[in-house]
């Protein structure tokens, strides 16, 4: 089977359990098992070649640009791990079928399990470090789901998050380390990296890479000081603990160290960091394990300890140690997974995992007892079981290794081994031996085969390897150790009896020490409980809570939602960045003289400064602010005229009128004054920022006005060609509708959208609480009751046709003289606006035949069709065309496509202004407003018997 398929099968299979659960729990479990079995068979097919020392490759380009490829390879090490992952995985799937309760959803469980399995297989088969990283992080994610599987348990949720945080950190460090490694080696392919030992170890980046990679490995394999997450991950269901936390995931770190052993090991840094960490972890884990009362916690810490042992062996950097490490990986996986499963059985049957509530189970559950007996004796390192063999090898290597002062290492290791023996004995002694008790939460007895079968199989291996190591495990150890060391294996022999060696002595000492420790467990336990120890979970929780607190604080302080603050930061940023940019080079010498200041200029300047000054002081009076804004706008218009830009001036004036009217309408619904905000300090701050901004804008403007173009500008082209090529004397208009007509196309759409938004906003307001509030608002008795004075009505009626005529005139002359669709639209809009103001909404709207939405839509369509029409003539969008025509009675006149476009502009402007007005008027209506059909408050044509219309807000009795 191609390697990629072995890795992919569990992922593909992960889709099945969720579906198959519909067919029942057995179907679900068997489907899952068959997926794993298929992958396992696929792996075993390669066994002969791999055990013969061959390496099998599979290559598939994925992202060649960066060197991330789906390359896999299978050598002894990969084979060993894949075998463990799939083999034990199969047992776990069977075990879990019988372990999970009725209320536990089985589909998700198996899905997560298969995801995890695929990720693990991926790690061990990857021939590309980036691909390996992908799988690495996937194990963190899938184990997060598995640990948190019992989501109703807070421990489960917290344990899952803790595991994710710790292993996630490691994963991120690993990313860094792997990329450095790949950069040094010049490839991300492991098979290449593994050949680059000299280059890597000579690189100045070796140490950073090593540390980062080791952080990744240590967090995954629960090495001190990252060991604390593993016990909390025990909140997971026992099959998960047995699978992830004894046999597979925690071994991923070991795998990584073994995998990179050929290029990373052998330096002082490697030896010191790895061996020391392993040693400390081994002792610490064993110590804590001895005093844990929770069966799974005991096993968890014992796992930590054993992982430390293997890490230490890898850290020694000698080939013999590597062989011992590989051998112990196999042995540990077998006995520890079996032990976890027995713990699960005890928990499942007795409903407790507390050692202090257990004891005497050997008669009640004999099968479980035998399994636990063999497995824990193996863990203790008792002869004829596999744990003994690898421990002997470890002790043998320790005896000839020196770490710090002589004899320190052997002594510490003996202590650790004694502790290890002690907790193994305790697991037996305090759970299975002793007297039978009366007070089990539930009287236990042996479970069905489904639960004890899988651990029994593992224990069979424990015994078989223990008895016939060379026959059973020999080839596998040789192949995988060969892969670790890179070929040459030292002399070693897998056998029980090596003669009287220092290792044997140490072993005997350790076992005796273990028995002693168990004898004195009771007083030691009391002391242990009495001593205060730093509790990892408390520290971790505090750190995380602190991080969240700090993050929240930073986020809240940064984003208080205050617009003034945001604006201030914007202003300061712009100022500083611009100032730095300005200062980074010199300013070109002024190329243009400043014009002499004329009288008009001075007056305009004074007016604008004064009105702005007053605006600043009285900005809280909203009506006054609006009037002052009008002053500014007018002066801007005048300045346009002054600089010979009548088009702009006309537009500006019309825009001023329309916007002031609309703003007045809006002010109607707002408080008359803005509430005062902030104190003197804040005002001072704002004054400084705003002042600096103003001065900055002034300096920039002055510089711009005096600077010369570096090269001829494009504007000369417009002046030259407006008449000849575009058929218009009014260059501004020609630019707007022709040269840059496409900009105008966008801008009229902006205008149209704005009106639509105002409309939508109004609808929203009217439909909600605000709308009801507005409709219910009381009349203001201080206002004049004369809403629609006759004079005004009459005047606006007279003005209407005149204004429309002016609009048409301005529109038509636009191309050659100041004017155009935009201004014309505004003028016409003002004409209609006046009718609304004078005669009221109801009267005016009743005479409105076209919806304003429609007018906007028509405008946009007209503009688009003008543009698209050019395509019919094979020209680009919006290409202009013009021609001169003669009709009887009138002068020669010009027709141009630009006029059609301008019509679109015109319609958009009219529609947009009117839609905005209509929306605001609708807001103004009160609930008790009657529909008014008369344009005036007083209807001159009324007969005497008709009642007079009563202005709202005045009671009928008081009227006149």
């Amino acid at each position: 089977m191609p390697l990629i398929l072995i890795a992919a099968l569990p992922f593909l299979g992960a889709l099945l359990p969720g579906v198959m659960i519909k067919a029942g729990r057995n179907a679900c479990a068997w489907t899952t098992a068959s997926v794993t079995l298929a992958a396992l068979v696929g792996l075993l097919v390669h066994a002969p070649k791999v055990l013969a020392g061959e390496v099998i490759h599979y290559r598939l380009d994925w992202m060649p640009v960066v060197g991330l490829n789906a390359n896999f390879f299978l050598d002894g090490l990969g084979f060993l791990f894949a075998l463990m992952i799939l083999g034990i995985g199969l047992l776990i799937i069977i075990y879990a079928r019988f372990y999970l309760g009725r209320q536990d959803p089985m589909g998700p469980f198996y899905t997560y399990l298969l995801l995890f399995q695929g990720a693990m297989v991926g790690i061990v088969l990857s021939d590309n470090v980036l691909l390996l990283l992908v799988f690495w992080e996937l194990t963190s994610l899938s184990s997060f789901l598995l640990i948190g599987y019992w989501k109703h348990l807070p421990e489960g949720r917290q344990g899952a998050r803790m595991a994710l945080a710790v292993t996630g950190t490691g994963g991120l460090a690993l990313i860094g380390g792997m990329i450095i490694l790949g950069q040094i080696a010049g490839s991300y392919d492991l098979s290449v990296i593994l050949t680059q030992k000299e280059a890597i170890q000579a690189s100045p980046l070796y140490l950073p890479a090593l540390i980062l990679i080791l952080i990744g490995a240590f967090t995954k394999s629960a090495q001190f000081p990252f060991h604390f997450w593993l016990p909390h991950a025990m909140a997971a269901p026992t099959p998960v603990s047995a699978y992830l936390h004894s046999a597979t995931m925690v071994k991923a770190g070991l795998f990584l160290m073994a995998r990179l052993w050929p290029v990373l090991a052998g330096t002082d840094a490697w030896f010191v960091i790895v061996a020391t960490t392993g040693l400390v972890t081994m002792v610490l884990g064993a110590t804590i394990a001895l005093f844990k009362d929770d069966l799974k916690a005991l096993l968890a810490f014992s796992t930590v300890s054993h992982l430390g042992l293997i890490t230490m062996l890898l850290g020694f950097g000698t080939p013999f140690a590597a062989v011992a490490a590989v051998f112990h990986i196999i042995n540990h996986a077998t006995f520890k997974a079996a032990l976890f499963m027995t713990a699960g059985i005890v928990d499942h049957e007795a409903h407790t995992r507390d050692i202090k509530r257990l004891g005497g189970l050997r008669h009640l559950m004999p099968i479980t007892f035998v399994i636990a007996l063999l497995a824990s004796l193996s863990m203790a390192g008792i002869p004829f079981l596999n744990g003994f063999l690898s421990k002997e090898m470890m002790l043998e290597e320790v005896a000839r290794t020196r770490l710090g002062i002589p004899l320190l290492l052997p002594l510490v290791v003996i202590v650790a081994a004694a502790l290890s023996a002690a907790y193994s004995f305790r697991y037996l002694g305090h759970v299975f031996f002793g007297d039978e008790r009366e007070d089990y939460p539930q009287t236990p007895h042996d479970p069905g085969f489904g639960l004890w079968g899988p651990p029994a199989f593992l224990v069979a291996l424990v015994v078989l390897i223990g008895l016939f190591p060379a026959a059973i495990a020999g080839p596998l150890v040789a192949a995988s150790a060969g892969a670790v060391t890179g070929g040459d294996l030292p002399y070693y022999s897998l056998k029980i009896w090596h003669g009287f060696t220092p290792a044997l002595l140490m072993s005997v000492l350790a076992v005796m020490g273990g028995l002693m420790l168990l004898l004195f467990h009771y007083p030691l336990d009391k002391r242990w409980i009495a001593t205060r120890r730093p509790e990892a979970k408390v520290i971790f929780d505090t750190v995380v809570a602190l991080c969240v607190q700090v993050s929240r604080r930073i986020t809240d302080v940064l984003h208080p939602g205050s617009m003034t603050r945001y604006t201030a930061i914007f202003a300061i940023t712009v100022l500083i960045a611009s100032a730095v940019a300005w200062n980074s080079s010199t300013l070109a010498a002024p190329g243009r003289e400043l014009l002499p200041v004329g009288m008009v200029g001075v007056i305009g300047w004074i007016l604008i400064v004064v009105s702005t000054g007053i605006l600043v002081v009285y900005h809280r009076n909203r009506l006054l602010s609006l009037i002052l804004l009008g002053v500014t706008g007018t002066i801007v218009s005048i300045s346009f005229i002054y600089f010979s830009a009548p088009d702009l001036a006309m537009t500006q004036i019309a825009v001023e009128v329309v916007s002031i009217i609309l703003l007045l309408l809006a002010l109607n619904f707002l408080p008359k004054s803005t509430p005062a905000e902030g104190g003197v300090e804040r005002h001072l701050r704002d004054v400084i920022i705003a002042g600096a901004m103003g001065i900055g804008a002034m300096i920039l403007t002055l510089a711009i006005q005096q600077s010369d173009f570096s090269q001829p500008t494009i504007s000369a082209y417009y002046l030259e060609n407006a008449k000849t090529l575009a058929g218009g004397y009014n260059v501004v208009n020609v630019i707007l509708v022709d040269f840059r007509g496409f900009d105008t196309y966008g801008e009229i759409i902006v205008l149209g959208i704005a009106a639509l938004v105002i409309y939508a906003l109004t609808e929203q307001l009217l439909g909600g609480r605000v709308g009801r509030k507005l409709a219910d608002r009381p009349h203001d008795p201080t206002l004049s009751g004369d809403l629609h004075p006759m004079m005004m009505v009459v005047a606006t009626r007279v003005m209407m046709p005149l204004a429309l005529m002016v609009g048409v005139f301005i529109f038509l002359r636009g191309h050659n003289a100041p004017g155009g669709g935009f201004v014309a639209g505004l003028v016409v809009a003002i004409a209609i606006l006046m009718q609304f103001m004078a005669s009221g909404y109801d009267w005016a709207i009743a005479r409105q035949r076209f919806t304003y939405h429609g007018i906007i839509g028509l405008g946009v369509i007209a503009a688009i069709l003008t543009g698209v029409a050019s395509w019919l003539f094979g020209a680009p969008f919006l290409t202009g065309a013009f021609a001169y025509y003669k009709l009887p009675l009138i002068e020669e006149f010009e027709l141009s496509s630009a006029m059609a476009f301008d019509l679109g502009v015109f319609l958009c402007v009219v529609g947009a202004v009117m839609l905005a007005l209509e929306s605001l008027s609708r807001l103004a209506r009160r609930k008790d407003d009657r529909t008014r059909t008369h344009p005036m408050d007083i209807d001159p044509s009324r007969t005497e018997d008709e009642p007079r219309p009563v202005p709202p807000g005045t009671a009928p009795a008081e009227a006149h």
Binding site: R553, D556, W582, S710, Q711, D743
Partner: protein, 534 residues
């Protein structure tokens, strides 16, 4: 081909105009037209990709005025990619909006979306700086309308801040354009590029101010710290489909930076001397940090998603700020990824919101929601994507960024920030997810009653919750597809990077050297501009 470039700026507004003219009150018709327009655009976008894949650059000059005098639209590999992303996102957003009923919760959703699309397309296609301003306005005003769609006090408040802040940006845009025009005398991007290239580092104060101001304008759009303040509240309060569409809006800023600061103010240009490279890098690093810290410090899912999009923009801009081929390749890949991921996250958050009492997405325990398993899976996928974890493309993007930053003189800092903050994101997403999906409270009567009295829940008013779920799932599937096709995608992006950095394709397509006899160009003062070019 050339006139096809124009279609994205003609079809959506045309459809929108027809909508407001004739079918304002027919929800069904609106939906059909909206979808039809988007599907047409999607087909066109695919054609664009295909047409530009060979490295050809297509120019269309509306009004038929020869550049630099008229406006040009330019389609190259990058524009085509951005247009495709937009169309793809639009389709998902539209399906979601229809399925969840969001489109009917206010007026004018469909025409505004069409106008919005036009604005986004325009920003990606234009080759003229002032025209870019115009399209910024189109998309700003349309997005404002969409943002406050559905109303509500908090949304209105956030909307006000959004529009005011962006108007500040627009004002700055005008200042920047004025300054640049004052120095270069042109607005056409290619022309400006040629003119700027001829200037020396001395007497360059004005051009530098202009360039830096322009960078800040784009940074506002791209939500670069400290110009990002409009984003958190806006994105958290915006209706979900709109927030998802906004995922491309920040990318407009990223795109503009990428375009203008490779084409006009590239790192080798003497006049600007690449002074903003280090600034951009620093700001981008801070942006990542602010975003990721925000993810961890958020009190609601909506905010989590908002800060995630800030962080993703930070990562994108770090890659851009490297200004190396590898960096730009990474940026482009991350652009695709983060657009899809951010959108997916917003949609998932909305799915959650529709199923929780009181329609809150706060991180407090609540009764288990409907379809918790499916939603949990979607959330997990979106979170993985947003946090840049494997197996989804975010991880690949991040790896590309890290790989590209390896040669930078501040590799250590960049790596520390990117990797360190990833951890914050992982923890933040895990916390949020565990609070919402795992930590359920027993169903109590109190919140139910509250919901019952208010009105029907969002889920109940949704015409087709399945369609909404499918749209979200489709987005996740698209992310998975990008991941699987990472090889071809990066190969295409590599060619895109080369085209961006080489500039020749673009410049010569817009300003052909031999073109002195064009029908519109008799001998004129501006006519011999090109000959002066090197």
């Amino acid at each position: 081909m050339s006139y096809l470039v124009m279609l994205p700026l003609v079809v959506p507004p045309m459809v929108a105009a027809v909508m407001i003219l004739g079918m304002r009150h027919h929800q069904g018709l609106l939906r059909i037209f909206s979808l039809a327009s988007i599907l047409a655009m999607l087909a066109l976008s695919i054609l664009f990709i295909q047409q530009s894949a060979d490295g050809s650059v297509h120019v269309h000059a509306p009004g038929n005025w020869r550049p630099p005098f008229g406006i040009v639209l330019v389609l190259d590999r990058l524009s085509a990619l951005m247009v495709l992303l937009t169309s793809l996102l639009a389709l998902v957003v539209m399906l979601y909006a229809i399925g969840s009923g969001w489109d009917a919760r206010g007026k004018h959703f469909h025409p505004l979306i069409q106008f919005q699309l036009m604005g986004i397309y325009g920003a990606f296609l234009t080759g003229d700086l002032f025209n870019l301003f115009v399209f910024f306005e189109v998309l700003l005003i349309a997005s404002y309308g969409l943002m406050i769609h559905g109303g509500g006090k908090r949304r209105m408040q956030a909307g006000l801040q959004y529009v005011v802040y962006n108007l500040l940006g627009s004002t700055l845009f005008l200042f920047a354009l004025g300054t640049l025009y004052a120095v270069t005398g042109t607005l056409n991007m290619a022309d400006m590029a040629e003119r700027v290239a001829m200037m020396g580092p001395e007497d360059a104060a004005l051009i530098r101010v202009g360039a830096v101001m322009l960078l800040m304008v784009f940074s506002v759009k791209a939500a670069l710290v400290p110009l990002h303040f409009w984003l958190p509240a806006t994105y958290a309060e915006t209706p979900a489909p709109v927030a998802a569409l906004f995922a491309i809006m920040t990318k407009v800023g990223g795109y503009a930076i990428l375009r203008v600061y490779t084409l006009i103010f590239g790192p080798d240009v003497a006049a600007t001397g690449g002074i903003f490279g280090p600034w951009l890098m620093n700001a981008a690093l801070v942006t990542i940090a602010v975003g990721m810290i925000g993810i961890l410090g958020s009190r609601s899912m909506g905010r989590v998603a908002a800060y995630a999009s800030i962080a993703s923009m930070g990562t994108l801009l770090v890659a851009i700020a490297l200004f190396t081929p590898a960096g730009i390749l990474a940026a482009l890949f991350y652009m695709i990824h983060s657009t899809l991921a951010a959108a997916a996250l917003f949609l998932v958050v909305d799915l959650i919101r529709a199923r929780r009492p009181g329609e809150s997405c706060g991180l407090a325990a609540a009764p288990e929601m409907a379809q918790a398993g499916l939603l949990g899976a979607l959330y997990m996928a979106a979170a993985i994507a947003a946090a840049g974890m494997p197996p989804l493309s975010g991880f690949f993007g991040k790896m590309l960024v890290l790989d590209a930053a390896f040669a930078h003189d501040r590799t250590g800092l960049i790596w520390t920030v990117i990797l360190g903050t990833s951890l914050l994101a992982v923890v933040g997403f895990a916390r949020a997810g565990s609070a919402v999906f795992w930590k359920t409270s027993p169903p109590s009567d109190a919140p139910k009653a509250a919901v019952g009295t208010a009105s029907r829940t969002m889920l109940e008013t949704a015409p087709s919750p399945t369609l909404a779920l499918a749209a979200t799932g489709g987005l996740i599937a698209a992310i998975a597809l990008v991941t699987l096709l990472a090889g071809p995608v990066t190969a295409h992006l590599d060619a895109m990077t080369m085209q961006l950095l080489d500039r020749e394709d673009y410049l010569r397509a817009v300003l052909p050297l031999t073109d002195t006899t064009a029908p519109d160009a008799p001998d004129l003062p501006g006519g011999d501009l090109h000959e002066a070019a090197p």
